[in-house]
């Protein structure tokens, strides 16, 4: 469905001269530097998959999506989506994909949602019957009815997002690209959109590529994650694998009966302390949880104790801080 091979994109960032003559001079010669936004990335997505494309801001997520949707032309490497080369067969590709950017609406700013939808029906030549069925379904699941007649510019962020996602699916695309679809939304709006995406994915077998830096999105929606940082691929595989690879470290939370001045124990680091509540980080390879707890019980009186796995957000932070671990262990790199 989606094939990405050795994909790279570099940008020339120009130095702009100001003023009338500066503008004139800009046309002929300009200083520039080269920024590598995507560097030799390869992956394959099969039909019906839901993939989380993760990375911090500026990692190259959006640039990749823009190459997959035909907005940008790759500097090198190859991309095919549904068998089309997006930047060469842009229009053919556009008919088969749906695109949503969280940062910006693709709808017409001054038109009511309904008229935007009508325009899309004309642009994509969607048959009346299919159009009516889709609008009814999206209305039911996303509750578009409440703001169907409202101009897009007057919608709240959550409403706009729902309208945009509905709009991107009107022509029954095979692939849906979502770039930060939950950015800036509240918890209720986020969960509604996640539910909808999951349903579309299972019921219609729509392939979904989701870029986000909200790990909740990924945990709720994706089995597979592709992690990129600094333009390069760090990891491609199941979320569970990623977790296993990284969860060599555990957390131990202890609630002490007294406010001991020194609660240090060997082989464990204090990561957090708030009064009598202390959190340790330890590696089971060096000390087993039972041993650690035994040491603590010998020295102090406690109220409560719990062992936890670090959450995914923490995990990924460690990946970005020290991506060497992954480079050594991951099968891809």
């Amino acid at each position: 469905m989606i094939e990405v091979r050795n994909l790279s994109k570099s940008f020339k960032i120009y130095h702009h001269r100001k003023g009338f003559w500066g503008t004139f001079a800009n046309l002929f010669s300009r200083k520039h530097r080269i920024v590598q936004a995507v560097d030799n990335v390869s992956f394959t997505v099969t039909r019906g998959e839901m993939v989380g494309y993760l990375g911090p801001n500026g990692a190259g997520k959006s640039t990749t999506i823009k190459m997959l949707t035909g907005i940008l032309v790759p500097s090198s490497g190859s991309v095919t989506v549904n068998g089309y080369i997006p930047h060469r067969q842009r229009k053919e590709n556009a008919k088969r994909i749906g695109v949503v950017f969280g940062q910006r609406s693709h709808l017409w700013f001054d038109l009511p949602v309904q008229e935007s939808f009508e325009l899309l029906r004309r642009i994509y030549r969607i048959p009346q019957e299919q159009y009516r069925r889709n609008v009814a379904m999206f209305d039911e699941l996303l509750e578009l009815g409440a703001f169907f007649q409202t101009p897009v510019r007057q919608l709240s962020l959550g409403q706009r997002m729902r309208a945009d996602i509905g709009a991107a699916l009107l022509h029954n695309p095979d692939v849906l690209f979502l770039d930060e679809p939950t950015i800036g939304l509240d918890v209720v709006a986020k969960s509604r959109i996640r539910q909808f995406i999951a349903q579309i994915n299972t019921e219609r077998q729509v392939t979904v590529v989701l870029t986000t830096h909200d790990l909740d999105d990924v945990e709720k929606l994706c089995n597979r994650v592709i992690l990129i940082d600094d333009a390069r691929l760090l990891f491609d595989g199941e979320l569970a694998t990623l977790r296993r690879m990284l969860s060599k470290e555990r957390l131990l939370s202890v609630d002490y009966a007294e406010d001991y001045p020194d609660v240090r124990v060997p082989h464990a680091q204090i990561t957090h302390r708030e009064g009598t509540r202390v959190q340790y980080r330890f590696s089971p390879e060096k000390i087993r949880a039972a041993e650690l707890i035994g040491t603590i019980l010998q020295k102090f009186r406690i109220v409560d104790i719990a062992v936890q796995e670090p959450d995914i957000e923490e995990l990924i932070k460690t990946v970005y801080e020290d991506n060497l671990i992954l480079r050594k262990t991951s099968k891809i790199i």
Binding site: F11, K12, Y14, H16, F20, T23, F24, N26, L27, R30, A37, G58, G60, S62, T63, K66, T69, G70, I71, L72, V73, H87, R90, K91, E92, A94, K95, I97, V99, F101, Q103, R104, H106, W108, D110, L111, E115, L119, R122, I123, Y124, R125
Partner: protein, 261 residues
Amino acid sequence: MHHLSLYLHFVKLRIRAQMEYRLSFLFELFAQSCIAVIDFFMIAILFARFKQLAGWTLWEVGLLYGMIGICFAFAEMFARGFDLFQDNVVRGEFDTMLIRPLDTFYQVFAHQFLLRRLGRLVQAIVVLLIASSQLAVSWTFAKVAYLLVALVGGTCFFIALAVIGATTCFWTVHSIELINIFTHGGLFMGSYPFSIYRQWFRHFFTFVIPLACVNYFPSLFLLGKSASVGVLIAPFVGCVFLGVAMLFWRWGVLRYQSTGH
């Protein structure tokens, strides 16, 4: 067929949006005509004193003025989207156009429709009609057809300038002002017979930027001043110029860098 009906739908939506502020619309329509009337009035005053300019009488210049005015007004009406294209790029709206299964040129073209240019258009037509009634031109079928083709060609010329200006936005913003020198400057220059300008200047605006083909060469033919081959093909030059501009556009789109990677 699909593209045409879709285009008309876009135009309908545009006109409706502009009509939402009816008073402002009417006022601008009025202001547009006033500016244009004063424009021609200035030329008329000049002629009241000098009678002739490089062998051209007032009504002959009226023909020049009317023709270029019509072409300019039509181009602004239809191709406004290219004038404003810079904003599309800055706001990232061009990304949206690229994910639609439609040609980008078509989408920018359909993006805007400036109805208020009607004021300028009507004024230019009136000047052209008065001028032709005052001139001893026998309006044969061939001449009328020639005039219509020339107007289409001239409109294409101004659209082409807007397209070239828009294409430069793929590399540098704020370059539209440069093209405006040729658009508005051309409108002003073209209101006078080309023979009053220096030779290098005439050559530049004939062979590099074919402004002279919009109204000067066609007027030579219509007024019976010349019927050389160059003058006969002049009405088609604007269309060719637009073709070149469209190729330039196509080339530019592939170099689009988008914003906020």
